[in-house]
């Protein structure tokens, strides 16, 4: 343990730093707060000018998000049964009736399947590749690593047309598998590079000890390397998931129905006489939740350097 001292920042410095952080948080969180607020506004409030900060909250946006509705024909107004639940009541108040569920649930599920599927695949392949690059004598290792990185040197959308044609020929257009493969292809270079850095930090003596203790190379990898790489795997998974979850351009281009994810779907939510902003905001708000939950769950891993301290110095 080497002795060093850290000078405690002065009160003024702390105050200054705190102010900067607060301003930054305000700037970045304001749009988010506005979206969440909008999701609880009525359509009229959502487009009011000047914008309304104080308003009567309603879940109309959420109800509209999950339903398809139609205007009640004049001759049926009296023959309708009374509203069965609060959602129906809200719709009736607009002079409409619910005709069925919207496609938001299905699109959201597509996002979950594709986002988590591609994250899992990226991490699975990335960890194995990173381990091999870190531990074995791979011919042309540096060139291969550069090649892997070079796939990220242009924006992925630059190759949209070749990918579109390729997907059409292979029958991958508008399939879950196609989108999982595409996002994995984009994420894997990030995963290999990040994970190689983490695995490089794990001393190989641990695996060698496991080899001598009677384990095979793969068992040593699984039982000794993987638990210690958990921190790196968690943070890499967050990056991969955020990309796949939020990706818009390819999703617009390559999916239309079966495998369409939520990002291209949300802006298409149309209400009566124009865009239904509260419903769009509700869709966006709900769409934020899984990534936030995933990040918060893995945050513990991000902060904990589990290998620190085990090394005899």
């Amino acid at each position: 343990m080497s002795g060093y001292s850290i000078t405690e920042p002065s009160a003024g410095q702390k105050w200054f730093a705190g102010t900067l952080v607060a301003i930054y948080a305000l700037v970045t969180l304001l749009p988010l707060a506005w979206i969440v607020a909008t999701s609880f506004k009525s359509p009229a409030d959502s487009i009011a000018y000047p914008p309304k900060v104080i308003f009567d909250p309603t879940v109309e946006g959420y109800v509209n998000l999950f339903t398809t509705r139609t205007r009640i024909p004049a001759d049926q107004v009296d023959s309708l049964p009374p509203p069965a639940n609060f959602a129906e009541q809200i719709v009736r108040d607009q002079g409409m009736m619910i005709t069925g569920p919207s496609r938001y649930g299905a699109r959201f599920l597509n996002s979950v399947i594709i986002g988590f599927g591609s994250t899992f695949l990226s991490i699975f392949l990335g960890t194995l590749a990173a381990y091999a690059f870190s531990r074995f004598r791979v011919p042309l290792k540096d060139d291969l690593m550069f090649f892997i990185l070079s796939t990220r040197m242009m924006p992925p959308i630059a190759v949209a047309i070749p990918i579109f044609l390729m997907f059409r020929s292979l029958g991958l257009s508008d399939t879950h598998l196609g989108m999982i493969l595409l996002y994995t292809a984009v994420n894997i270079s990030l995963a290999v590079w990040l994970l190689k850095g983490f695995i490089d930090e794990i001393p190989r003596e641990y695996e060698e000890a496991a080899l001598i203790d009677g384990y095979t190379r793969f068992q040593a990898f699984y039982k000794v390397v993987l638990p210690q790489a958990a921190t790196g795997i968690a943070s890499t998974a967050i990056f991969c998931l955020i990309f796949a979850w939020n990706e818009y351009a390819f999703a617009v281009l390559l999916t239309s129905g079966v495998a369409q994810t939520a990002p291209p779907f949300i802006p298409t939510i149309i209400g009566v006489g124009g865009q239904d902003w509260p419903a769009v905001a509700a869709g966006a708000t709900l769409f934020l939740i899984p990534v936030v939950v995933f990040t918060v769950l893995l945050r513990k891993h991000l902060l904990r350097g589990i290998t620190f301290g085990a090394v005899r110095k």
Binding site: P203, E205, E208, L211, D213, Y215, T216, A310, R312
Partner: protein
């Protein structure tokens, strides 16, 4: 419990030979200490025997069979590393049980429990069994690491400076303990150290390595009393052997370039005068730093000596060692 034999083993890293045409037989049940400075090939030798490195040429035999084609697991050796010894994500108990749970041994749970308990007892870490490995002090980590080797009763123990990070008292205790365990089990043990006391007290044989070559192999006393070169002579002895021009004390054997004088080879009271430069009182012994015709000389004096810097004392060699200009022993 097995004999280990290296036959013309060479291992190169790039252009440097870490181990160079090494042949050595480690008898069944022997406690062999490898001595040599950093880079002499001690650790590489252990790694070759363990199977963590493959030799470029030569063959390695354990209990008479060539093990080149075997994995480390199949060789049934246990190794204590100098560093990074414990699995940081496991508790002490899990660390100790790890080798027993391997697919090769696949020990029954009750037996694991018993073995772990026994070893923890011997190494005095029973009270730490449920701690995370990272929550131990350096000395405790190293004891667990030794314990992980002991739980298995392997054919051969390989230890790479296992006691170097421990404090003096614990090191002395574990030295005795290791020696006792080794002779109780009758296992073959190959041990790398820089510590002379460890080498002299524990080893049945000492191998001295110099840049990948095994330069001398023998009992600790042979190595100490009958070194084959200056290099070997300087490996053992505290204070180190003094090397001076051969003719400093009068006629030397033909071809001798250097005279080697261990502190006990210097007789005080007659001979050539030397001036006292420094006197170090170490308690049980007193070291005299002398200057003799411009050459530094370290010897021992009576613990209660009254000599002081500036005094003059006459010295003459007694049973000295002579070396030629290449450092090889000639007399």
């Amino acid at each position: 419990m097995a004999e280990v034999r290296l036959s013309g083993v060479t291992k190169r890293f790039g252009t440097t030979a870490a181990v160079d045409a090494m042949s050595m037989t480690i008898a069944d049940g022997a406690f062999v200490v490898l001595l040599g400075p950093t880079g002499a090939g001690k650790t590489t030798t252990l790694r070759l025997i363990a199977g963590l490195e493959k030799p470029d040429t030569g063959d390695i035999f354990i209990a008479g069979r060539s093990v080149l084609a075997e994995t480390p697991a199949q060789r049934n050796v246990a190794m204590v590393f100098q560093q990074y010894s414990l699995y940081p994500h496991l508790t002490v108990r899990e660390n100790l049980a790890f080798p027993l749970k391997s697919p090769i041994l696949n020990t029954r749970p009750q037996q694991i429990e018993r073995r772990v308990g026994e070893v923890a007892e011997v190494l005095r870490i029973s009270h730490k069994l449920d701690n995370k490995a990272t929550a131990l002090s350096g000395g405790e980590m190293q004891r667990v690491s030794i314990g992980r080797a002991l739980v298995r009763k392997p054919q051969i123990f390989l230890m790479d400076e296992p006691l170097s990070s421990l404090d003096a008292k614990l090191r002395a205790d574990l030295r005795v303990e290791l020696k006792r365990i080794q002779s109780d089990l009758g296992s073959t043990l190959l041990y790398v150290t820089h510590d002379q006391i460890e080498a002299m007290t524990m080893a049945t044989h000492v191998g001295v390595l110099d840049r990948g070559l095994l330069v001398q192999f023998g009992t600790p006393r042979e190595i100490y009393e009958n070194p084959s070169s200056i290099y070997v002579a300087t490996r053992l002895g505290q204070p180190r052997i003094n090397t001076l021009p051969a003719d400093l004390f009068g006629p030397a054997p033909d071809g001798a370039a250097t005279i080697g004088l261990r502190p006990e080879h210097i007789h005080e009271g007659e001979g050539r005068p030397a001036s006292v430069v420094r006197v170090e009182h170490l308690g049980d012994q007193t070291r005299l730093h002398l200057d003799i015709a411009g050459h530094a000389l370290v010897t021992l004096a009576d613990p209660h000596t009254s000599l002081a810097p500036g005094d003059t004392v006459a010295v003459r060699p007694e049973n000295p060692l002579y070396f030629d200009s290449n450092g090889l022993r000639i007399a």
